[in-house]
Subunit: 101 residues, 4 copies
């Protein structure tokens, strides 16, 4: 499955780079395929892999914050793999042009 | 923590009542505090309770669907309990009026 | 259409009651059907009504905050009205029991 | 502001490539900075530009579908520009490494 998530502490003010960096380090170390975008991170894996990773990231953020908002969007399609790249490639093929990504 | 979630199969057409009913049955049987609204269900519990329940509901929906979209929003505030009712009551107190809920 | 939304300023710390109250006042004054839950507010109306109202609420929050996160989920089903109550009633009928809401 | 959005018709089955392609064409023609990822599209602009574009895309999808779910996440930070690239670059600088994106 694909899952995009973002984790936002509410008591750190408007600059969250430091907290996001800690989370990105955990994601990068997880070994799961991932892609960062400007609104969150998409990871690909089984429910346990993906939710386990997000749980770790959430827990890390909670350690230093009294209120954390975490948002998760899951797209679970049977029998499909490498959708983290494949969905966009298939769109580009259909439109016969390269898209900004 | 509070978590709102919704689970949408993409191959059932526009009427999802039957699938939502199966999920609601699982939620109602879980024993966790919950509230249904017209865009999803809010449950309250620990990460493991809440994510465990959502995983069960997702899995049930995947059984009869080839593609399922699941959305989860978590609000995790330290040291707070019964926020499923408490957040609204506290708002009503602040505004000194009853709100539609 | 139905739209659930929530508006979160990032520079107000963990207690957002004051900011949420201001937004609720705008919603309550709008005349649109709405229901508050512990994770957001659901409103019902046309795209222009609903998005117009959310824009007003977002703008009000931006006035006193340097960074605001706004989340909107829209469910737009042709030919259906009063879904803010109707979706839940129809689920209860199907399950033949009253659900927590 | 940055806004990520995705638009999902419920009566098209599990393969949404054709519908997504139509929407991408509208986004690509809009002239707004955008980036596609495997879970949605991020656009950058003012409220009117961004919401205007999303409204157009939603309307186009509604034309050929009886039920459409549209999700929008907005990150509105005062005085910041080109955040669609800048947020990631700033994270990479902080971590002193290149991230998958």
């Amino acid at each position: 499955m694909l899952a995009q998530f973002s984790i936002v502490p509410l008591d750190k003010g408007v600059s969250l780079g430091k907290d996001v960096a800690k989370v990105l380090q955990i994601i990068d170390n997880s070994g799961l395929p991932y892609k960062l975008n400007s609104m969150g991170t998409v990871v690909e894996g089984t429910w346990d892999e993906v939710i386990g990773l997000i749980g770790k990231c959430h827990e890390e953020t909670v350690k230093s914050s009294d209120r954390v908002l975490t948002t998760i969007s899951i797209d679970d399609r049977k029998g499909m793999k490498n959708r983290i790249d494949g969905k966009i490639e298939s769109l580009e093929k259909r439109l016969n042009k390269s898209l900004r990504k």
